[in-house]
Subunit: 319 residues, 2 copies
């Protein structure tokens, strides 16, 4: 059976799985990215992990290649550049170094772009020519498909939607020092910051008055909203308003048929989807109204990041 | 000799020319769009005008087809929809009706998208795979090319960049009733509105204190800036700041290699290019800095709108 190794490099974990042609990860594992500050040792760990996974599958498993998704990755250069959440600094020639160790087709791409390819191959964007995947995790990523193709950009850095600033340079500071960048509002971290904002703005009682910022976790905010905590509910409404406003604006750019939300914050279900949809519909231009879908990713159940990374290679074998 | 009829439908004038394979308009003319509120009469006028132009050329002139650029046009539907500056209201099936009268290949496209095709075929974007043409006339239009292809969007309304709102819904009202839309700031009309804003904000003397808004023309503002009028200079600085900020944000979307500015406001040369470049460079993310060009359209000398419209057909004949 043919498989592709799908690798998702994140700030905390590096996840690896062997993925079949249906996008299913047959076996997978992870290790802590920060345990490998030396790039060579990291790549050796990748190599040995793939071998271990392969040994866990049947004898006739044939590895077609390696697809990697990572933050701040350039598909055109095969590098990771100045990723604020990763241990390696500056411009990292990841693909070139990996190919020295693994003699197989290998591709690297921005994690959100990989997710968009995954959505097209294995998820709910099958047959769509124009759509955008928005990843809402620690940060905010974008994978843009238009005319049936993934948009790379001039040197592979298209889709950095989390750094789009809708506040004329006068908003919250992001991790990259950009004022007003979307990811300072719409992400797991952004939601936590919005809890602070709401605690400051309103007087209502809330469990969050007894929890320090550093002890705050995204899932707790969803739970609090379920239980009627007014600060949590206001925080989701505000987050959805900004996301809905942003998606309405993105529509005027490439006019997608659908937006797919993926990642931690997308897991808050109606708390994020309902206000986002409401405000997106409010702010959409008339020529777009009723034509843009807001959907959960079809890969939420599957191991989305691993499947997406594997799609980089599987997309070469389609038909 | 083979030619294509290039037609630019504008709120004031409809321009028609016969364009050769080099993008040069050999003969051209115009008539007033508003003189033809009846669509059938308008299309007959188009038809007769093309015949007249053809009679002005040599006998061996062979008309390959008709390309049309218009505001709010959908290339996928062949319609013009709710164009606020045109006489025909609602959804206008222009292409279908035209084909009843003219038995030739015909295409319709948003005027800014047509300009982008023109820039790729006849202008300074030859060989570029990723660029954006921004048209700065009465409004603000966008034509986006990515992966070497024009981006149409789900039903042909991509590139409505003038309606992107960078003020979180709290800015000037555009003609379409959108708050904060870019075209309320960066366009011939936007510049005039900014003159009012500057007259209101500052106390300096200015020739514009003696001119009513309705008597104000864009070229006068450029002339005033040349002569040192402080309100005109501040207005250009402000316009360039918002445009530069917008282009920096657009870069995070499809990462173009270059932006081309076209249209009336682009004719203000350094008064618009210098502040736009300065602020674009200020606001660009580090991964993009030094990689994005800001250029005047290579079609400014040619009859840009006519050439762009003709490119719709000529692009079918390139190898």
């Amino acid at each position: 059976m043919n498989v592709v190794a799908g690798i998702d490099i994140g700030g905390t974990k590096t996840k690896i799985g062997l993925v079949n042609q249906q996008g299913e990860s047959l076996v997978q594992t992870f290790f802590r990215t920060k345990d490998y500050p030396d790039l060579d040792l990291f790549l050796e760990k990748i190599n040995s992990t793939i071998s271990e996974l392969k040994n866990q599958t049947s004898r006739d498993t044939n590895l077609l290649g390696v697809g990697i998704g990572a933050p701040n990755a350039s598909s055109k250069r095969g590098t990771i550049e100045n990723a604020s959440n990763l241990v390696w600094k500056g411009s990292v020639p990841l693909l070139e170094k990996l190919k020295e160790k693994i003699n197989l087709p290998a591709k690297l791409m921005n994690d959100a772009s990989a997710a968009a390819l995954g959505e097209m191959l294995f998820g709910d964007a099958k047959g769509m020519k124009d759509f955008i995947v928005v990843t809402l995790g620690t940060g905010f990523g974008g994978g843009i498909v238009a005319n049936g193709q993934l948009i790379d950009g001039y040197d592979g850095f298209a889709g950095e939607l989390g750094h789009i600033d809708l506040t004329l340079g006068d908003g919250r500071l992001t991790g990259l020092g950009v004022r007003g960048g979307l990811e300072a509002y719409v992400s797991a971290t952004g939601l936590k910051r919005t809890i602070l904002y709401m605690l400051c703005k309103y007087n209502e009682e809330s469990r969050f008055r007894s929890i320090a910022y550093n002890d705050l976790h995204g899932e707790e905010i969803t739970k609090a909203a379920e239980e009627g905590d007014p600060i949590a509910i206001k925080a989701f409404e505000y987050t959805g308003k900004i996301l809905g406003f942003a998606l309405a604006n993105f529509t005027a750019f490439t006019q997608p048929e659908a937006f797919f939300l993926l990642g931690g914050l997308a897991g808050s279900d109606k708390w994020i989807f309902e206000p986002t949809k409401k405000y997106m519909d409010t702010y959409l231009l008339d020529i777009y109204k009723g034509k843009v879908k807001l959907l959960p990713s079809g890969l939420q159940d599957k191991n989305a990041a691993i499947s997406g990374a594997a799609a980089l290679i599987w997309s070469e074998f389609k038909n």
